[in-house]
Point group: C2
DNA sequence: TTACAAATGCAACTAAGTTGCATTTGTATT
DNA sequence: AATACAAATGCAACTTAGTTGCATTTGTAA
């Protein structure tokens, strides 16, 4: 994906093309692991304010450009792509040693039968273990 | 389960029988929903220090008496019972309206085939939706 | 080029969770 | 019952994630 290719993504979502958004998109597309606030701040060389970064993460998530992942660390991490919905789940693998978060796009979709009266909107699965690099 | 019944749980784990531990155990056993730090602090009438409470949550979790659950709120919640292990998962249902966290003990166990080189330790599933009370 | 909504930067704030250390308490031993 | 020691508590100070209000700046459409 070339730099110019993802700028239309912003327009399509009604988001203005600002410096941080271009930088964020470019970064998310090339990163294969989920990114925490700190990862992102470092990757962007602390060029932008904390609130600006958080607000844009929120905007991107709402627009379905990225999705948040919550593991036992208590720190939200973000990865490129829409949030999982039922029937189209993708699981996340968190390495207990290096803490890297992988998106496992190709795992078999799951079906959950929740009790009567419960309505499912989305399903997120966190698999903890040791990754191939560790 | 009577009050005296769960005190042996502490001894068996090598944990001293202190006031906060008895109170915590009693509370966890009767609560059907997962509890946040704030829930617990309120239930215990702010009788104990923040650090004491957190340290005991850690000790209980390590002993397998409770397990932590992390949803999109970023706030860890705890529920009675051991953490899910592969083949014996139980999923958690988080209501998007009232934020209550339910343990769904009776959902079908899942099998995940992770890529080569990855080793699974435990699987946690968060189902988001609307609960029966909402 | 103008004009306005949307986005940014700044500063101040809230709240979760942690840590070091002095004091207290549960329990095992005599 | 007294002692003795490790483990647990309380306190205070701290770190860091994430939020909010507001004045200023900027992207885009007219």
């Amino acid at each position: 994906m070339k730099n110019k290719d993802y700028e239309p993504l912003l327009e399509r979502k009604g988001l203005k093309k600002t410096k941080i958004r271009i930088a964020l998109l470019r970064h998310f597309i090339k990163m294969e692991h989920a990114q925490s606030y700190r990862d992102l701040q470092a990757a962007l060389a602390n060029e932008f304010d904390k609130s600006t970064l958080y607000r844009n993460l929120g905007a991107f998530e709402q627009a379905g450009l990225i999705h948040g992942i919550n593991d036992h660390s208590g720190i939200t991490k973000y990865a490129f792509g829409k949030a999982p919905i039922q029937g189209k789940e993708h699981a996340h693998f968190v390495c207990d040693r290096c803490e890297t978060v992988y998106c496992m796009n190709d795992l078999t979709p799951l079906q959950f039968d929740v009790p009567k009266g419960f309505k499912t909107n989305q399903v997120q699965t966190i698999i903890r273990g040791i990754c191939a690099d560790c």
